[in-house]
Amino acid sequence: MQKDTVSWRILKDKIFKGFVILLSFVSILPLLFILFYIVKNGITSINWEFLTHLPKHIGEAGGGISNALVGTGILLIISCILAVPLGILAGIYLSEHRKGRLSYLTRLCVEVLQGIPSIVIGIIAYLWVVLSMGTFSALSGGVALGIMMLPVIVRTTEETLKLVPFELKEASLALGVPYHRTILKVILPAAMSGIVTGILLSVARVTGETAPLLFTAFGSPFMNFNIFKPISALPLLIFNYATSPYPEWHSIAWGASFVLVIFVLILNIITKLVTKRWKVQF
């Protein structure tokens, strides 16, 4: 009888283990399907022309998405310029002043900001930038994406800075190093891997955002380097082409999706490498 119980328990263990393995496999299935589908439909459109040429008119064969690639690049640069310094400084403030009303308020706002739907942020950027400047522009798109990046950067900066031991700060201050230099030259370098990870993750997060760009960057069929004019972006192009009635455009949308997914994938891999390589041991 005793023996039976033990073997029954072992069996239960095995069933449970099998169940866990099965479910974790199921959880990666959606990603595999998505990747498979995008690769299958997208890879045929990828060639040098696709990456370096402008889109052609309906009925003409070929054409590329270079305007969208450049547009996404410019939008990301603008949003990084806006969000990275602000996010890191706010993160420093939060980790340096853990208690206190202002930091409580800041933390709350950052959390709420993180939860605001991206379409709403798009509308805000439309009201603030597009309406006041009178035109759709890359700048307004960058503002919208920057607002979306901000909470991620603030939180990751704060969390990594909190992990830097207080002894390190003391060591620097005890050498007579002024506070601002201690933060910039001792604390920030020690937390660099975490901060860069946060920035890359936030970039990966906003690269595929369509909603905030719909009425800010707006999209453009032309190559544009002027940040005060409408600009194309990968997700916008995918949205416009995928909803069009033309099969040629559908295949371009698939190709663009492929490029977008690969870009985000590479960003995620770089993030992992950065975390591993630059990790500072305390």
């Binding site: 050498l175 190093v177 041991q281």
Partner: protein, 252 residues
């Protein structure tokens, strides 16, 4: 010729409303080791953190009284200058993890933006590491990270870092409490070497250590300076009953 480098007058320290130190008066001599001993929580660490103005960094901390370094009240000086003149080594070795050994030693100059030429830097690094008795062990890999060193080596690296600033006083806050016996005796030998150049204030809860390395000993109890005198005297014929009880292990 013995001269006073540091004079503490009626020093009291507070954390919010709690009084940690009560009217401490103390004179520290040049080229001597002064040990501050006492049971945990008696204010030893607070006392030395008042000397280089690190105490005031804690929110709610307050200090009253005066501390004279070479006759100048440090509480009227810029704390940054005070901390450059009074080096500190902490309980837990804390080399800068992002820097190599060389940069760790010269960190006081680099982080402060003090410009000195390469030869001068090399000289300071070598001299400081030699003084800290670490040169022979690390001279072949000065450009490797300081964090792979053993605990005792890291602590000596921190001592070298403090020495590089050519301070007048070095504060050692229980520098051996996180180390094994061998590294501890290393550091103690080092302390006896170092006193040729600087005044050393050593905080320790280890009575034997205070007896081994110090010239003068102060006994601190419940924030009060109970007794201060030559180590010889304190450890053989203590005046105060509390000192005697502490030394014989009645408490602490």
């Amino acid at each position: 010729m013995e001269s006073t480098v540091l004079k503490i007058e009626d020093l009291s320290a507070y954390f919010s409303e709690e009084r940690i130190l009560k009217d401490v008066n103390l004179s520290i001599l040049r080229k001597r080791v002064t040990a501050i001993m006492g049971p945990s929580g008696c204010g030893k660490t607070t006392l030395i953190r008042c000397i280089n103005r690190m105490h005031e960094l804690v929110p709610g901390a307050k200090v009253s009284g005066r501390v004279f370094l070479d006759g100048k009240d440090i509480y009227t000086m810029n704390p940054i200058i005070v901390r450059r003149k009074i080096g500190m080594v902490f309980q837990k070795p804390n080399p800068f993890p992002t820097m190599n050994i060389y940069d760790n030693v010269i960190a006081g100059y680099k982080l402060n933006g003090i410009k000195i030429n390469r030869n001068e830097q090399d000289r300071i690094v070598e001299e400081s590491l030699k003084k800290a008795a670490l040169w022979d062990e690390v001279k072949d890999f000065l450009y490797r990270k300081g964090t792979f060193l053993s605990g005792g080596q890291q602590q000596r690296l921190c001592i070298a870092r403090a020495l590089a600033m050519q301070p007048e006083i070095i504060l050692l806050d229980e520098p051996t409490s996180a180390l094994d016996p061998k590294s501890t005796s290393h550091i103690e030998e080092l302390i006896s070497q170092l006193k040729k150049d600087v005044a050393i204030i050593l905080v320790t809860h280890n009575i034997a250590q205070a007896a081994r390395v110090s010239d003068f000993t102060a006994f601190l109890y419940l924030g009060e300076l109970v007794e201060f005198g030559t180590s010889e005297k304190i450890f053989s014929v203590p005046e105060d009953k509390r000192t005697e009880e502490y030394l014989t292990g009645k408490f602490g």
